[in-house]
């Protein structure tokens, strides 16, 4: 069990450090922002801002072929962009780890987030990605640790779904 820090993003960062994850790519999401900031302050971690989530799959696989571990951070809306790209780690048995901040599930305000929020677990399962889910802050560290070890020890793809219940649903105000 990973120790719980004040912010669950600190727990994820600790897993990155413990497991020597030195490349982190992302299409940003507010839920990931504190983690992205932690990684950007760390000279041992390369942070790569993508234009589309699917490029993070290829980037991650190339990094692994060159001897480095990485993680892809994205919002659930990005999972659909990755479908065909996920064939690459699958057929090559390259470990692939992604952390997905969920939208469209718990108290969502924007209807447009719902289709891909509902589709996220189905899409990942369809592409043989093992799903881990964290609904509570206390379990984030141990869940990310378990998913990362699953990916890197068994040469498979793993995704951690970080629930909207935990992240908090943003309520938008007009005007």
């Amino acid at each position: 069990m990973t120790a719980t820090n004040k912010d669950w993003r600190d727990d994820i960062y600790k897993v990155f450090k413990d497991l020597d994850i030195t490349m982190v790519s992302h299409v940003p999401d507010a839920g990931h922002t504190p983690l992205i900031n932690l990684c950007e302050k760390d000279n041992e971690i390369d942070v790569v801002t993508l234009t589309t989530e699917q490029d993070g799959v290829g980037l991650s696989c190339g990094a692994y072929a060159g001897g480095r571990k990485s993680a892809l951070l994205m919002q659930s809306s990005g999972v659909g962009n990755c479908i065909n790209a996920l064939a690459l780690p699958n057929i090559c048995r390259i470990p692939f780890l992604t952390l997905v901040s969920m939208r469209g599930e718990w108290g969502e305000f924007i209807p447009w987030q719902v289709p891909m929020g509902l589709g996220t677990p189905k899409v990942l399962e369809a592409m043989d990605v093992k799903i881990f889910r964290a609904d509570y802050k206390e379990e984030v560290g141990s869940t990310v640790d378990a998913a990362a070890r699953f990916a890197f020890n068994t040469n498979r793809s793993a995704a951690v779904l970080l629930s909207q219940k935990m992240i908090g649903a943003k309520q938008f105000k007009n005007g």
């Binding site: 993508l50 699917q54 490029d55 290829g58 190339g62 690459l88």
Partner: protein, 189 residues
């Protein structure tokens, strides 16, 4: 217009030990294989659009090696955004050679956007890859070799090629895990 297969073979003929070669799906992989099997090559046979980000991740991880990607205009057009990522997270050891035949030659020669108004050299430059140029003749071989081995990357060379089908030359294995492990062993040794 360049005859792509002998051109790729010539570039790979006297390759230096510090070169690792990636190829985008389809014809580029057959082209590289036609130059002889080599454990320092890794060829895509699927996952269209992933060869550029893969090569970026590889180049970032292996700063002491030179990374050369051969890929097609179709593969490049599928991931134009990755050129912006390459430019903004630059790697000095990455060269991309786009074998631009202006068509999806494997599926029946349907024209790509580069047969129309799209210029990949300008797209690369506009994305921020300053070292980008177009060649139309095999005589530019020396210039490309200099770019691959000696110039500051990232670079993108658009090699305008004839749109003709070439014989398929299969890689050592179609199993990606076999191919990638073989390629990774060439890095460790």
């Amino acid at each position: 217009m360049i005859d792509r297969r002998p051109f790729v073979q010539k570039i790979l003929k006297n390759r230096k030990p510090n070169l690792r070669v990636i190829s985008g799906l389809g014809t580029s992989t057959w082209d590289v294989m036609s130059g002889g099997d080599n454990t320092s090559n890794f060829g895509f046979i699927g996952a269209m659009g992933q060869a550029i980000p893969f090569s970026l991740g590889l180049a970032k991880s292996l700063p002491d090696l030179r990374i050369l990607l051969f890929t097609g205009d179709g593969d490049t057009l599928m991931s134009l955004g990755s050129l912006a990522t390459v430019a903004n997270h630059p790697v000095s050891n990455l060269s991309i050679v786009v074998l631009d035949n202006e068509s999806y030659v494997e599926t029946g020669n349907q024209p790509t956007a580069t047969a129309g108004k799209t210029d990949l050299e300008l797209v690369a430059k506009g994305s921020g890859i300053c070292n980008s140029y177009t060649i139309t003749s095999e005589n530019d071989y020396d210039k490309v070799i200099k770019t691959i081995y000696a110039e500051e990357g990232p670079s993108l060379v658009v090699a305008k090629c004839q749109a003709k089908a070439t014989p398929l030359v299969f890689p050592h294995s179609f199993d990606g895990s076999v191919s990638i492990n073989r390629f990774m062993s060439s890095i460790k040794s």
